[in-house]
């Protein structure tokens, strides 16, 4: 029986070993580690910036999944081989004129709102790449644009370039906020603090009612984090919103609000996601 059983054991081992051999023989691809993407783009030369963009296109950006480079029979998404040569013409097409000023605008729109203009014979399947799951940062998007410009065109975008993303800034801010936050506290108790006890509404408008000494808070929960709001309450001069003066908001809240009160107030503020009037 031992000999027969040994044969069976050997057979099982060989079968599994073949599986391991096959798995290790095919092309090995892995995504980079989470911390590896934190490059200092500001110190890069133009060539390094373009190369960084290429790495994003072939990696984190997952562009290669749909876009080919050099395949004239691409079916999923347009081929990118000479895209840099085409972008100015695309921006001048009748349906784009007026909305887009130049080729850079065209690329910016293609990456932030891909369905705004879809190349003929292709489907609107491209996602907004600043949003999860791809979630490229502003700098990474610039690097991608630089790479795309390099494919047959002149590279004008650098790490210092300020792109016009005004149409998507709110969405970008929400996407950048990204992570799941732990929000402690009770919004109803926070509302009581905001409107009655601390009277924040005396200086801050919410949904059209309140003062104007401080920023409108109607949409504050949509674009800011818990930590930012806590800092703003406890240390108002840490970040002063553009257009408002420092030393206007009282600095005594850190002495008057308990931890629980602060959590409740912030929980209420995080519920404010309306449009700013």
């Amino acid at each position: 029986m031992n000999k027969a059983f040994s044969k069976i054991v050997l057979f099982v081992f060989v079968a599994i070993a073949l599986f391991v051999y096959l798995g290790n023989s095919v092309p090995q691809v892995s995504t980079e580690q989470a911390g590896a993407g934190n490059l200092d783009y500001s110190k890069m030369s133009q060539d390094e910036f373009v190369k960084a963009g290429e790495k994003i296109v072939m990696g984190k950006g997952t562009c290669y999944i749909c876009h080919t480079i050099g395949d004239h029979n691409a079916t999923r998404a347009p081929d990118l081989n000479n895209v840099g040569a085409r972008i100015e013409a695309r921006a001048q097409e009748p349906e784009n004129r007026g909305r887009l000023k130049n080729g850079v605008d065209y690329l910016v729109e293609s990456l932030h709102e891909p369905s705004a203009y879809v190349v003929k014979d292709f489907s609107p399947i491209m996602p907004k790449i600043f949003k999860p799951p791809i979630a490229l940062s502003r700098m990474e998007i610039k690097a991608v644009i630089a790479f795309l410009q390099s494919r047959g065109g002149k590279v004008t975008v650098t790490p210092q370039t300020v792109l016009d993303t005004s149409r998507w800034d709110t969405e970008i801010a929400r996407a950048e906020k990204g992570e799941v936050e732990e929000i402690k506290g009770h919004p109803q108790l926070g509302a009581e603090l905001f409107f009655n006890q601390m009277k924040c509404v005396a200086c801050h408008k919410v949904n059209g009612s309140g003062g104007v000494l401080g920023p409108d808070l109607t949409a504050i929960g949509a674009i800011n984090t818990v930590d930012y709001l806590k800092d703003s309450i406890l240390d108002p001069n840490k970040v002063v919103v553009k257009g408002y003066k420092p030393n206007v908001m009282p600095r005594f809240f850190k002495n008057h609000l308990s931890d629980a009160d602060l959590d409740n107030l912030v929980a209420f503020l995080m519920t404010l996601k309306g449009e700013t009037h």
């Binding site: 029986m1 027969a4 059983f5 044969k7 069976i8 057979f11 099982v12 081992f13 079968a15 599994i16 070993a17 599986f19 391991v20 096959l22 798995g23 290790n24 095919v26 092309p27 090995q28 691809v29 892995s30 995504t31 980079e32 580690q33 989470a34 911390g35 290429e54 296109v57 072939m58 997952t62 290669y64 999944i65 749909c66 080919t68 480079i69 050099g70 395949d71 004239h72 029979n73 691409a74 079916t75 999923r76 081989n81 489907s123 399947i125 996602p127 949003k131 999860p132 799951p133 791809i134 929400r174 906020k177 990204g178 992570e179 799941v180 936050e181 732990e182 929000i183």
Partner: protein, 601 residues
């Protein structure tokens, strides 16, 4: 030969139930104490490290082993109840003893499943506290449901096993009709317990599936992960497809593991009587496995469609991105399964008088299977740099890349399934000659249906190259329907065709060469590896997210590993599982020997 059904007759039903409940209570108690202790000694953190192998691999191994055993304890009861129903209907006690023999293994298997489940809970709680806390916020009510289902499962499992002899009584030994009628009442009650055991097990699986599918295709939460609707979080895009896929997969798993067990026993058998018994058991296990295996590709396709519907990027990453090579490995494994299963049927015909008539069909069936598997495992997208892409003229190989697309692969999968069905059909007919007057016409109709189904599959496969993707995707539905129609209609005709057929002789159970048993063992090993591979796919598709597009994996060491690394881990867990399974089977045998020895003294 050891008869496991003779033992345990001394155990009372209540005694058995008590044993099960005490075991699960001890596991829960140990878990509670461990959590309580950890809360006191560790400080808060988002992630904690596991020594040597790292948290990811530690959680991976424990999760995979838990899932292997879960598949076993869910698959075996399904197999057991099906076999018990066959026994009840045919009054063939062999099937009843087979079902009972396998149910015996459940006791220890359940304990091991629960232990690994406890380790998994502890691992996630301790190593990934931030993620665990987030999932708790979404799914806490389902945790109580799950615990209740565990208790129900334990009760029904032990009730099912320990009441077997009591409720079966003399059902198989009495010949008088009135006795049968009174015995039927108890047997049907026992079968009902078995069905409820499976319902409970299925509900447990559905509950756990909600958690893992939420991680893959979250719903019912806003973009910041705050719960908006619990039912939507449960019933997300991939929940029901995974439920169906896992249910069928568990049946196939249970059948093939039963077949492999029988194969090992056959190879170690000392008498012709033992060989005959285990040959029959192996055939039965394999048959159940194949029946579940056939619709599995359809269930997998449904799952893939829902992944695409949820998120195109995820879908394209799966089939055309970094996971595309995983599907080549999958194609190889499934190809091995279909080739082995067919090979087993063909060798099996050698033990049937009259089976040699159909040997001539094996050539073309083998050709279809080999060609089909070859096309199925043809790669399409290949990871390349932009320079390589320009040199190749694209992302695909100019010649074989043509076959590496879904139009070709869907078609060959359907042809492989049809061919396997024909193998089974010929096996079924091997020892019979039809006596029906309309047999010639009947067989012509069957051939026409099979030919038409194959023609539809091939036509739509070729036509799919010339239409847009959205249209091509719809073709697969018609391909599947034509194959299903062919299988159902041809089987129905066959049943009538071979009524009152002339038998050419008995099936000579046990007259099988050793290589046939290795085919059964290969089936079990392959499905174990396949399950591990698909588990890696499901988990890895999330890439750098704990919950896709909702909760990012911010662990400094987070990255999607290579396929080679994944296969190494899968192989390790598969070996560990097989070793533990052998231990369970061996322990079951030792218990039987011990009790039989004691009763004979």
């Amino acid at each position: 030969m050891k008869d496991v059904t003779e033992v345990d007759s001394g155990q009372s039903v209540l005694g058995g139930l008590k044993k099960g409940l005490v075991k699960i209570a001890l596991i829960f108690a140990a878990l509670y104490l461990a959590v309580h202790f950890l809360n006191r000694v560790v400080s808060p953190a988002d992630y904690r490290a596991f020594p040597v192998i790292g948290s990811r691999v530690a959680a991976w191994i424990v999760a995979q082993l838990h899932l292997y055993f879960a598949a076993f304890v869910l698959g075996v009861p399904i197999f057991a109840v099906i076999t018990e129903i066959v026994a009840w209907k045919t009054k063939d006690e062999r099937y009843d003893k087979l079902a009972h023999e396998f149910t015996k293994l459940l006791s220890l298997a359940f304990t091991i499943t629960a232990i690994f489940g406890a380790f998994l809970f502890l691992g996630l709680y301790f190593l990934y506290p931030k993620f665990f806390a987030f999932m708790g916020k979404i799914f806490k009510p389902t945790y109580f449901v799950y615990v209740s289902l565990i208790l129900g499962e334990v009760i029904y499992a032990y009730l099912y096993y320990y009441s077997w002899n009591f409720l079966t009584g003399n059902y198989f030994k009495r010949s008088a009709i009135s006795d049968q009628q009174s015995a039927t009442h108890h047997k049907s009650l026992h079968i009902m317990i078995g069905v409820l055991l499976n319902v409970w097990g299925t509900l447990m699986m559905f509950t756990a599936d909600a958690w893992v599918t939420f991680m893959m295709s979250p719903a019912g939460v806003d973009e910041f992960g705050r719960l908006q609707n619990m039912w939507k979080a449960v019933n997300n895009y991939t929940w029901m497809p995974v439920n169906i896929h896992r249910l069928l997969g568990n049946v196939a798993f249970g059948g093939f593991v039963a077949g492999a067990y029988a194969a090992v026993k056959f190879l170690l058998a000392k008498t012709e009587e033992e060989k005959a018994h285990y040959d029959w058991m192996g055939y039965t296990g394999n048959f159940v496995g194949i029946c579940a295996m056939i619709p599995l590709p359809f269930a997998g396709y449904y799952l893939a469609r829902e992944v695409y519907a949820f998120n195109q990027t995820m879908g394209v990453t799966m089939m055309g991105g970094i996971f595309s090579w995983l599907f080549i490995i999958q194609a190889v494994l499934i190809g091995v399964i279909f080739l082995s299963a067919n090979y087993y049927f063909w060798i099996g015909m050698s033990r049937i008088s009259g089976g040699e008539r159909f040997a001539k069909h094996q050539i073309w069936m083998l050709a279809v299977l080999v060609l089909g598997v070859a096309i199925w495992m043809t790669p399409h997208n290949m990871p390349m740099t932009s320079k390589e892409m320009i040199r190749t003229g694209g992302a695909f190989h100019p010649l074989v890349g043509v076959f590496g697309v879904m139009s070709a692969k869907n078609s060959v999968v359907n042809l492989i399934i049809l061919t396997t069905f024909v193998s089974w059909l010929l096996y079924r007919r091997a020892d019979k000659i039809e006596m029906a007057g309309w047999s010639k016409k009947g067989k012509m109709v069957q051939s026409a249906i099979l030919g038409l189904a194959a023609a539809v599959v091939i036509f739509l496969g070729v036509y799919g190259y010339y239409v847009p993707a959205a249209v091509r995707i719809g073709f697969s539905v018609y391909q599947v329907l034509s194959v299903l129609f062919a299988m159902v209609s041809v089987t129905t005709i066959d049943i009538f065709l071979f009524r009152n057929a002339k038998r050419l002789g008995d099936i000579q159970w046990g007259k099988m060469p050793a290589r046939s048993q290795y085919a059964l063992i290969l089936l079990a090993v392959t499905i174990i590896l396949l399950m591990g591979l698909m588990g890696y796919l499901r988990s890895g598709l999330r890439e750098s997210w704990h919950v896709y597009a909702v909760m990012r994996d911010t662990h400094p060491g987070a990255f999607t590993p290579t396929l080679g690394f994944a296969c190494n881990v899968i192989a390790t867990t598969a070996l560990a599982f097989i070793a533990l399974l052998v231990f369970i089977f061996w322990l079951g045998e030792e218990k039987v020997s011990g009790k039989q020895g004691a009763s004979s003294e």
